[in-house]
C-alpha cells in the first residue's frame, strides 16, 4: 500500500508541478492519467526518490520514503520515461551490471536472475546484441526487466507505451498486467486505453492537481446517460464548442464525431452513448478548465 499525502512541489522557475497531491494506491495496477505537463513525471520521480517535494509525505507499507531513501530504493523498481543505455554494451552485460548496482552481488544468483528476466521480457534470444541496436519496444522491455530486479514492492513505469507500435504495446501491457498481480504498479500515461485495459484503479491529474481518483467503473457510472454523440461537418466544430461541453472530437471515416456532456439530449441528431474512460478523462479536464475560467 502506497500512501501519498499532500505532496507539493514548485520548481525554481515558478512552475507548480504538484499541488497537494494525495493518493492511496493499493497493490495492483494503478493508472495515472493526465495530459502532457500535468505533473505525472514529477510525481513519479518524487516517489522514485529522485526529487524531493517541498512538502508532503510518502509512505510505502509504513516506510517513510522521503526520510529513508536508501531503504525505499531497495523496494523500488523504476522505469523512467526517458532513459539511456550504453549503446555498446550487450543487454545481458548491462542487466548484469544493473543487478550488481542494485545489490545482487552473489554471482550465481545474479546469473539466474538475469536469465529469468531476459526470458520473461522475451529478450533472451537477443541478449548478446548491443543495446544500441535495439528497437524502441525492445528497449522498453529491457527497461522493465531492470525494474524487476530484486522483486520490488513498488514499480513505477512512466509513459512506457509512448512510441510503441500496437503489437509492442500489447506485449508490454501484458507483461505489466502479470507483474501487477502482486505488487503496487504505478503506470503513468496519457493514453486512456492503457488505463482502460489494465488498471483496476486510477487517478486523473492535471496541472499538478488530482482531479479524480478511484475505480474506473465508479467514474464511468457517474457519467452514465450523460454522454452524447453526433457526426458533424468539420466546419461546425467551433459552433458546437461554443454551445455544448464538448468532450472530444475525433475523425472517423472522414467525418467528425463529437462527444458532448449533457444531462439531457442536447439537440436533435445526438445519440446517447455508453461513456468510456476517455469521456471521463476529458470530462474532468473540461470541468477543471471551466472552473478556472469561472474563477
Amino acid at each position: 500500500m502506497l500512501e501519498i499525502r499532500d505532496l507539493s512541489k514548485t520548481y525554481a522557475n515558478g512552475v507548480q508541478a504538484l499541488r497537494n497531491v494525495s493518493l492511496q494506491i493499493p497493490t495492483g495496477m494503478f493508472g495515472l492519467l493526465g495530459p502532457n505537463g500535468a505533473g505525472k513525471s514529477s510525481l513519479m520521480r518524487t516517489i522514485a526518490t529522485l526529487q524531493d517535494p517541498d512538502s508532503g509525505s510518502i509512505q510505502l507499507d509504513g516506510l517513510d520514503v522521503l526520510a529513508n531513501k536508501p531503504a525505499a530504493r531497495r523496494l523500488l523498481g523504476y522505469l523512467p520515461q526517458e532513459f539511456g543505455l550504453y549503446p555498446k554494451v550487450s543487454a545481458e552485460a548491462m542487466l548484469d551490471h544493473f543487478a550488481v548496482l542494485k545489490g545482487v552481488v552473489a554471482r550465481g544468483e545474479r546469473r539466474a536472475l538475469v536469465e529469468a528476466l531476459l526470458q520473461q521480457v522475451n529478450l533472451w534470444d537477443v541478449r548478446k546484441r548491443k543495446l544500441g541496436t535495439y528497437s524502441g519496444g525492445m528497449r522498453q522491455r529491457f527497461g522493465i526487466a531492470q525494474a524487476l530486479i530484486g522483486s520490488p514492492k513498488l514499480i513505477i513505469v512512466d509513459e512506457p507505451t509512448a512510441g510503441l507500435d500496437p503489437e509492442e504495446r500489447n506485449r508490454f501491457l501484458n507483461l505489466l498486467a502479470e507483474i501487477g498481480e502482486n505488487v503496487v504498479v504505478i503506470l503513468s500515461t496519457h493514453i486512456v486505453e492503457d488505463v482502460t485495459d489494465l488498471c483496476p484503479r486510477m487517478a486523473i491529474i492535471s496541472q499538478g492537481r488530482v482531479l479524480l481518483s478511484g475505480q474506473p467503473a465508479e467514474a464511468l457510472s457517474a457519467l452514465q446517460g450523460r454522454v452524447w454523440r453526433k457526426a458533424i461537418a468539420h466546419s461546425d466544430i467551433e459552433a458546437c464548442k461554443s454551445r455544448f461541453v464538448v468532450l472530444s472530437t475525433r475523425l472517423s471515416g472522414g467525418k467528425t464525431i463529437i462527444h458532448v456532456l449533457a444531462d439531457a439530449l442536447p439537440e436533435e441528431g445526438f445519440t446517447a452513448v455508453a461513456p468510456d474512460l476517455e469521456d471521463v478523462y476529458f470530462g474532468q479536464l473540461r470541468q477543471q478548465a471551466a472552473t478556472r475560467s469561472a474563477a
Binding site: 526518490t49 529522485l50 539511456g84 552481488v105 552473489a106 522475451n122 533472451w124
Partner: protein, 1196 residues
C-alpha cells in the same frame, strides 16, 4: 543566403556567455602578461621593451596557439550545434544550400575566434599603459606591430586552426572526436618541433612544417639583438612567407574538403564501413513464454556487498575508458611524444647519453607532465558526466546504491588511466633501452616511479573530480580546472612556492644513480600524504554532494548533503581533516622551524638588503688567508658534517685592520670561533654576515690565527630539494661553505627590474679594466692570494673521502675511515671535499698519478677520461709549462648539478655529463674528451695563471681552457671535425647574446658572461689560430704563462695578454686582434652562386659569386658598418663518399682577400667540385651559418 546564415550564426556566438567568458579571460591574461612579470607568455626581458614590436607579435602568436583549444568551442560548436540539439533534421529539410550553411557557420566561428584575439590585443595594449609598469621598460607604442601580428600571424593561423577544427568536427560529428583530433594534432606538432628544434641542421624543415608559424618566427628572429627586437619586425619573406602561404593554402584546402565531404543528412561520414551483424535470432513468440517467474534474490547492502559493487563498477568504468577510441588515440600520441622526448633528451653537442633508467623516467615524467594533467582533467569530466551523458542515471539513480560507490569507482578509473599511461610509457622506454643496446633495465625503479607519479596525478585528478561534482556543470568544472592550473603557475610566479598551499605539490624526489632517491624521498612522501588526506576529505564532500535524480540548486543540494552526512561520513571527514592539519603542522615544523624556508621574493629581499647594508664595506681592507687546515668528519648517512678549521691570516694592506668582517652561509652553524681578543659588533644570521672588533687592531704585515668549529646538520626535510651538499652517497661540499672575509659582490641581485623594485641602483658591474686598485684581488675570492692547504677528512668505512692534496696517510679508527691530504705547494683558496662509495681506476702519465673515482654503474667512459687527461697533460706541459702537481684526479658526483669543475689536481665531474655519454658512434662529438681536456687545462689557466677580478678576467681562464681543449681535440680528431663543434658554439653564442640582460661586452672585457667567455671565446681563439698559426698563439700563451704564473698582486689582465699577443703577432695583425678581442664584429658571408666548367685538360674552372660584409655592434645590438679587411677562407670541396661533410675532399682552401659586398672569384681545381664555400668552416661570426656553402652547378 550565406549572409543570412552568417548573421544568424554570429548573433548566436556573441549571445553565448561562453564567448564572453573566454574573451574576457584571455584579455585578462594578456593584460597581466603585458603589465607584470608574474605571468610570462613570451614577452620582454632585460633590454627588450615590454611593448617592443617583437614582443607584441610574439604574444599575439602565442595567444593564438593557446586559444586553439578554446576557440574549438566556437568553431566546432558551430559545426555541431544542429546535430547536438537535434535541429539538424529540420534544418536539412529546408532548402538552404550547402555552401551557405557551411560557409556561414565557418566564417562566424572564425570571426568569433579572431574577436577573442582582438580582446587579447586590447589587453596587451592596456596592460603596458598601467601606472605600475616601469616606463624604462617601454618603448614607443607600435600600432604597426599589432597590425603586423594580425596580418601575418593571427588571421592566417586562426584561419588554419578554424579550417582544421571545422573539418574535424564535420568528419567526426562529435565534440569529443574534435578534441581528440585537436590534442593529437597538438602533440604531433610538439613532437615534430622537439625532434628538430635542437638540431641546427633542421631549422628550415621546422619552420616550414609548423602550421602556426611559431618555429618560423623563432628561426627568423633567433639571433636578433635587443635593439632588433625593440625596433624591427621580421620581413614577410623567405621562410616566414613560405610558411604563411603554405599553411594558409592548407587551410583553404581543408575548407574545400569540408564542403566536399559534408552531406546534408544525418549520418556522419564513416571512414570505414560499419560491420552490420544480421539481427540475431528473431524473438520467440509470446505464446512460448511461461508465467512470470522471477527467482528470488537478496539485495545486499552490507560492507562486503558494497565493496563488490565498487569493484564491479570500477572495472566497468575502467574498461569503458580504456577501450574507448579517445583513450587509445591519446595514449598513442603520448607514446609518440615520449618517443621524441626520449630520443632527444640529454644531448650535448649532438652526442647522446646512455639511456640509463632514471633518465628514461625523467623523460617520461617530463613528457607526461602537461599532457597527462590535461588527459586527467578531460577524463575527470567525462567520468563524472558519463551516466548523465548517456542518461543512464535516470535508471541507476533510483537504485539502492551508496552515493560514494560511483564516485570512488570513477576515481579508480582515473587511477587506471594514469597507471596505464605510466605502465605503457615504462614499457616503451624499456624497449628503447634495448634498441639502444642498453640492458641495465631497472624494473624496481620503474615500479617505484609508477607509484610516485600515479599518486601525483591522482591527487590532481581527485581535485578535478571534486570540482566537476561540486560545480555540477561540465563546462564550469573544466573552467575551474583551468583556473586551478593557471593559479598554480601564477602562485609560483608570485613566489608563493611553499607546497603547503600548492595543491598536490611536493618537493621533487630527485634521483641520481649514485644516491638513489636519497633523502629527498621522505619529504616528498610527507607532502604527498598531507595532500592525500585533503583529497580524502574532498572525496567525502563530493560524495555528500553527489547528484542523484533531478538537478537541484545549491540550497537543496546542501540539504541533501546534510541528510547524507551520517556518522561514518562525519568520522571520515573529521579524521582526514585532522590528519591533514596534523601533517601540515609536521611539515611546517620540518620546513620552516627546523629548516630555513626562503621563498623567492624573500631571497631577493635578502640579497637586496645584503647589498644595501654591507656594500659600503666593499673596499675595506681585510686580512688575507695564507694557510688553511681543515679537519672534517663526514657522516653521510646522517647527512651531517663536523668541521674544525684553522686559518692563518696576514694583514697585507698598508693600514691596521680593526674590524673583521666574516661571511658564512646560513646553512652552516658556527659552533665556535677562536681568535685574538675581540668583541662582536653585529651578528646578522639572516645574511650570514658578522662583524668582529679586534681589541688589538691587526697592524700591517702582522699575522693572526683564526680557528673555527662548524657544523652542518640536516634536520628533517625541506620544501625544496635543493639541499644536496651532504648526501648518503656522493657528498660534495666546497670551500664556499667555510668562513670568508670582506664583502663579496657575488651574491648581489642581478635582475635590473628586481633591483629597481628594491630601490637599488643600476646593476653593479665588474670593475673596469683600468681600475688599478681592483688588481689586488684575483678571480677566486677577495680574502686570499695563494694558500698552503692540509686536511684530515673522515667518513664511513665503505666510502672514500677526497680533497685536494697528496694522500699522506689513510687509517681506520672508531669505525671510521680517515684520510690525511697535504698540498706541498701553494694553491688557490678553492677546494672541495667529496665522499662516496667509489670504484677507482688508476694510471700514470710520466710521474703523475692519474685516478678516476667513479660509481661502479658508470664505467663506460673512464678509459676515455684517462686518455684525454694524458693527452692534455702531454700537450699543455709541452706547449705551455710543466704540470705543477704529481697527481690528477677525476671524481664523480651525483647528477643534482651538471658541471665539471677544476680544483687543484682534483676535478669533480657530474654523473650527468660525461660518465654516461654514449660515444659508440665515431662521428659524434666526443665531449667527454673535450670536457676532460678543458678541466685539465684549468690546471694552467686558473691554477697557474689567475687574472685580476675585473673586466676580461674570465677570458684568462675559461677562454684559454676552451682553446687549449680545442687544440688537444683537433690534434686528436683532425680539423674537419671541428666545424661541427664550432657550429654548435656559434649557434649558442648567437642565441644567448640575444638574451643578454645587461650589455654584451667584447671578449677582452667580458664580465663573467658565459656565452662570451666559452662560446665566443672558442670561435675567437680558433679564428686567431687560423690567421696567425698555432705556433704564434701557443708561443704567446706560453710567454703569458711564464710571465704571470703564481704571481702575487697586482694580478694580470687581458690587456697584458693582448700586449703580448700583438708583440708576438706583429703589427699587421693588430686590426684583426682588435676585431676579435676588443670589438663586437659580425660578418655576413655567403655564396650567392657557384658554377663550374669542365675544361678540356680535365680540370674544372669554378666560379663563385660571393657576398661579404662586416658590421660592428654595440652592447645592445646597434650596428655600424665596417670594411672587410682581412682575408677570408675560400674553399672548394669534392663529394664525400659517405655524404658526410667532414669526409669531403678539400680541392682548394686558402684565405683570400674578398672585397666588401658582392664579388666574383674564379678558381681552377683538379677534380669534380661538389660544394664551395666562403668561410666554409664558420670560423667567423656570422648570423646565418648555413649560406656559407653552396652546391656547385656544372655547366657545359
Amino acid at each position: 543566403m550565406l549572409r543570412e546564415v552568417l548573421r544568424f550564426e554570429l548573433r548566436q556566438q556573441l549571445k553565448s556567455p561562453l564567448f564572453w567568458v573566454i574573451a574576457l579571460a584571455f584579455a585578462a591574461l594578456a593584460f597581466a602578461a603585458a603589465g607584470s612579470d608574474h605571468i610570462r607568455v613570451g614577452g620582454g626581458i632585460g633590454n627588450i621593451h615590454r611593448n617592443a614590436p617583437f614582443v607584441v607579435a610574439q604574444m599575439l602568436l602565442i595567444f593564438t596557439v593557446i586559444g586553439m583549444f578554446l576557440v574549438a568551442v566556437f568553431v566546432a560548436g558551430a559545426a555541431l550545434r544542429d546535430f547536438d540539439t537535434g535541429m539538424a533534421e529540420m534544418i536539412f529539410a529546408t532548402p538552404v544550400s550547402r555552401r551557405a550553411y557551411l560557409g556561414g557557420r565557418f566564417v562566424a566561428g572564425y570571426l568569433a575566434s579572431v574577436v577573442v584575439i582582438v580582446f587579447v590585443a586590447v589587453g596587451l595594449y592596456l596592460g603596458v599603459l598601467m601606472p605600475w609598469v616601469d616606463p624604462a621598460r617601454l618603448g614607443a607604442t607600435s600600432l604597426a606591430a599589432y597590425g603586423y601580428g594580425f596580418a601575418v600571424f593571427v588571421l592566417p593561423t586562426m584561419f588554419f586552426i578554424a579550417a582544421f577544427l571545422f573539418l574535424l568536427a564535420t568528419l567526426t560529428r562529435s565534440m569529443l572526436g574534435t578534441y581528440v583530433g585537436l590534442i593529437a594534432f597538438f602533440v604531433l606538432w610538439q613532437v615534430a618541433l622537439t625532434l628538430i628544434r635542437d638540431d641546427i641542421d633542421h631549422w628550415t624543415l621546422a619552420s616550414l612544417i609548423d602550421p602556426f608559424g611559431v618555429a618560423a618566427f623563432d628561426v627568423v628572429t633567433r639571433y636578433w639583438s635587443a635593439n632588433d627586437r625593440n625596433t624591427r619586425l621580421p620581413q614577410v619573406a623567405g621562410l616566414l612567407l613560405a610558411n604563411r602561404v603554405l599553411w594558409f593554402s592548407v587551410g583553404a584546402a581543408m575548407v574545400a574538403t569540408t564542403l566536399a565531404v559534408f552531406r546534408l543528412n544525418r549520418e556522419p561520414l564513416r571512414l570505414w564501413p560499419r560491420r552490420r551483424r544480421a539481427a540475431a535470432g528473431s524473438e520467440t513468440p509470446d505464446a512460448a513464454r511461461g508465467r512470470l517467474v522471477v527467482p528470488p534474490v537478496t539485495l545486499r547492502i552490507d560492507a562486503a556487498a558494497r565493496f563488490q559493487q565498487f569493484v564491479k563498477l570500477a572495472r566497468f568504468e575502467t574498461r569503458s575508458v580504456l577501450l574507448g577510441v579517445p583513450f587509445l588515440v591519446m595514449l598513442g600520441f603520448a607514446m609518440a611524444n615520449l618517443g621524441g622526448f626520449v630520443a632527444n633528451s640529454n644531448e650535448i653537442y649532438g652526442t647522446r647519453v646512455y639511456p640509463v633508467t632514471h633518465l628514461m623516467i625523467e623523460a617520461m615524467n617530463g613528457s607526461y607532465n602537461f599532457l597527462l594533467v590535461i588527459i586527467v582533467a578531460f577524463y575527470a569530466g567525462e567520468l563524472v558526466w558519463r551516466e548523465r551523458g548517456a542518461r543512464v542515471n535516470e535508471v541507476t539513480d533510483a537504485f539502492p546504491l551508496s552515493d560514494w560507490i560511483p564516485l570512488l569507482s570513477k576515481l579508480a578509473a582515473l587511477a587506471a588511466v594514469i597507471g596505464t599511461f605510466l605502465l605503457v610509457g615504462s614499457i616503451e622506454t624499456m624497449v628503447y633501452q634495448l634498441i639502444r643496446g642498453y640492458s641495465h633495465i631497472e624494473p624496481g625503479l620503474y615500479l617505484s616511479n609508477i607509484a610516485l607519479a600515479d599518486l601525483q596525478f591522482l591527487l590532481i585528478g581527485t581535485l578535478m573530480l571534486f570540482l566537476q561534482v561540486l560545480s555540477n556543470n561540465k563546462f564550469l568544472g573544466y573552467l575551474l580546472t583551468v583556473i586551478f592550473l593557471i593559479s598554480k603557475i601564477v602562485l609560483t610566479q608570485l613566489h608563493f612556492d611553499h607546497h603547503l598551499y600548492d595543491f598536490g605539490g611536493a618537493p621533487q624526489a630527485k634521483y641520481s644513480d649514485m644516491n638513489g632517491y636519497g633523502h629527498f624521498l621522505a619529504g616528498h612522501l610527507w607532502f604527498r600524504a598531507y595532500w592525500a588526506c585533503l583529497a580524502v576529505a574532498m572525496m567525502v564532500v563530493a560524495a555528500l554532494y553527489w547528484l542523484r535524480g533531478t538537478s537541484q540548486g545549491w540550497k537543496e543540494r546542501t540539504r541533501i548533503a546534510r541528510q547524507r552526512f551520517d556518522a561514518p561520513a562525519r568520522a571520515l571527514l573529521a579524521a582526514s581533516l585532522v590528519a591533514f592539519a596534523g601533517l601540515g603542522v609536521w611539515i611546517f615544523y620540518n620546513t620552516n622551524i627546523i629548516n630555513h624556508y626562503v621563498p623567492g621574493d624573500l631571497k631577493n629581499e635578502r640579497d637586496a638588503s645584503y647589498e644595501k647594508q654591507y656594500r659600503q664595506y666593499k673596499d675595506l681592507p681585510q686580512p688575507r688567508i695564507v694557510d688553511v687546515k681543515i679537519d672534517m668528519d663526514i657522516f653521510p648517512h646522517e647527512r651531517h658534517v663536523e668541521v674544525r678549521g684553522h686559518y692563518h691570516l696576514i694583514n697585507r694592506s698598508p693600514v691596521a685592520i680593526r674590524d673583521l668582517h666574516m661571511r658564512l652561509p646560513i646553512h652552516m652553524d658556527l659552533v665556535d670561533v677562536r681568535f685574538p681578543e675581540h668583541s662582536v659588533v653585529s651578528d646578522d644570521r639572516d645574511l650570514g654576515y658578522t662583524i668582529y672588533r679586534l681589541a688589538q687592531p691587526l697592524a700591517p704585515g702582522a699575522a693572526m690565527d683564526f680557528d673555527f668549529t662548524l657544523r652542518y646538520l640536516s634536520r628533517g626535510f625541506r620544501n625544496t630539494p635543493d639541499d644536496h651538499r651532504v648526501v648518503d652517497n656522493g657528498t660534495f661540499i666546497d670551500s664556499s661553505n667555510f668562513p670568508h672575509f670582506g664583502y663579496d659582490d657575488q651574491g648581489q641581485l642581478e635582475d635590473r627590474n628586481e633591483r629597481r623594485r628594491y630601490g637599488l641602483g643600476p646593476v653593479p658591474r665588474m670593475p673596469k679594466i683600468d681600475d688599478e686598485s681592483a688588481r689586488r684581488n684575483h678571480l677566486i675570492g677577495i680574502d686570499s692570494d695563494w694558500v698552503t692547504f692540509e686536511t684530515t677528512v673522515s667518513t664511513v668505512p665503505d666510502q672514500i673521502a677526497l680533497a685536494p692534496g697528496y694522500l699522506q696517510k689513510e687509517w681506520t679508527a672508531n669505525g671510521r675511515r680517515y684520510f690525511h691530504y697535504k698540498q706541498d705547494t701553494p694553491i688557490l683558496n678553492f677546494f672541495s671535499f667529496q665522499s662516496a662509495r667509489y670504484a677507482v681506476k688508476r694510471d700514470r702519465w710520466k710521474d703523475v698519478a692519474l685516478e678516476v673515482y667513479y660509481d661502479p654503474q658508470h664505467a663506460y667512459n673512464i678509459d676515455r677520461m684517462i686518455y684525454a687527461a694524458r693527452k692534455s697533460l702531454e700537450h699543455y706541459s709541452q706547449v705551455y709549462s710543466p704540470y705543477q702537481f704529481r697527481q690528477l684526479r677525476i671524481l664523480e658526483f651525483p647528477g643534482y648539478e651538471r658541471f665539471a669543475q677544476s680544483f687543484a689536481n682534483t676535478v669533480p665531474f657530474s654523473e650527468a655529463i660525461g660518465f654516461i655519454a654514449d660515444l659508440r658512434k665515431p662521428e659524434d662529438i666526443d665531449y667527454v674528451f673535450y670536457v676532460t681536456a678543458h678541466e685539465v687545462a684549468h690546471q694552467w689557466w686558473a691554477h697557474q695563471v689567475i687574472g685580476a677580478y675585473l673586466q676580461g678576467v674570465t677570458m684568462l681562464d675559461e677562454t684559454f681552457a676552451q682553446y687549449s681543449a680545442l687544440m688537444v681535440q683537433e690534434h686528436e680528431y683532425g680539423w674537419p671535425r671541428m666545424r661541427k663543434f664550432l657550429k654548435y658554439e656559434l649557434d649558442r653564442y648567437l642565441r644567448d647574446r640575444s638574451g643578454e640582460l645587461v650589455e654584451e661586452m667584447p671578449l677582452s672585457l667580458v664580465e663573467n658572461q658565459q656565452y662570451i667567455h666559452y662560446q665566443k671565446g672558442s670561435l675567437v681563439m680558433y679564428s686567431l689560430k687560423d690567421y696567425l698559426g698555432e705556433d704564434v698563439v701557443d708561443r704567446t700563451l706560453a710567454r703569458f704563462d711564464e710571465e704571470t704564473a703564481f704571481q702575487m698582486p697586482p694580478y694580470t689582465t687581458t690587456r697584458e695578454f693582448l700586449t703580448d699577443l700583438r708583440q708576438e703577432a706583429g703589427p699587421k695583425w693588430s686590426p684583426l686582434i682588435a676585431d676579435l678581442f676588443e670589438k663586437l664584429t659580425v660578418f655576413d658571408n655567403r655564396v650567392v652562386s657557384a658554377t663550374a666548367k669542365h675544361r678540356s685538360d680535365g680540370k674544372y674552372d669554378v666560379t663563385l659569386e660571393v657576398h661579404t660584409s662586416k658590421v660592428y655592434v654595440d652592447g645592445i645590438g646597434k650596428e655600424s658598418p665596417a670594411t672587410v679587411s682581412d682575408p677570408i677562407d675560400v674553399g672548394v670541396f669534392g663529394q664525400a663518399p659517405d655524404g658526410q661533410e667532414q669526409h669531403q675532399k678539400v680541392l682548394y682552401l686558402a684565405k683570400r682577400s674578398v672585397p666588401d659586398g658582392n664579388s666574383s672569384i674564379t678558381l681552377t681545381v683538379d677534380s669534380v667540385p661538389f660544394e664551395v664555400g666562403l668561410d666554409p668552416y664558420n670560423k667567423l661570426i656570422d648570423r646565418v651559418s648555413d649560406d656559407n656553402r653552396m652546391r656547385v652547378t656544372l655547366t657545359q
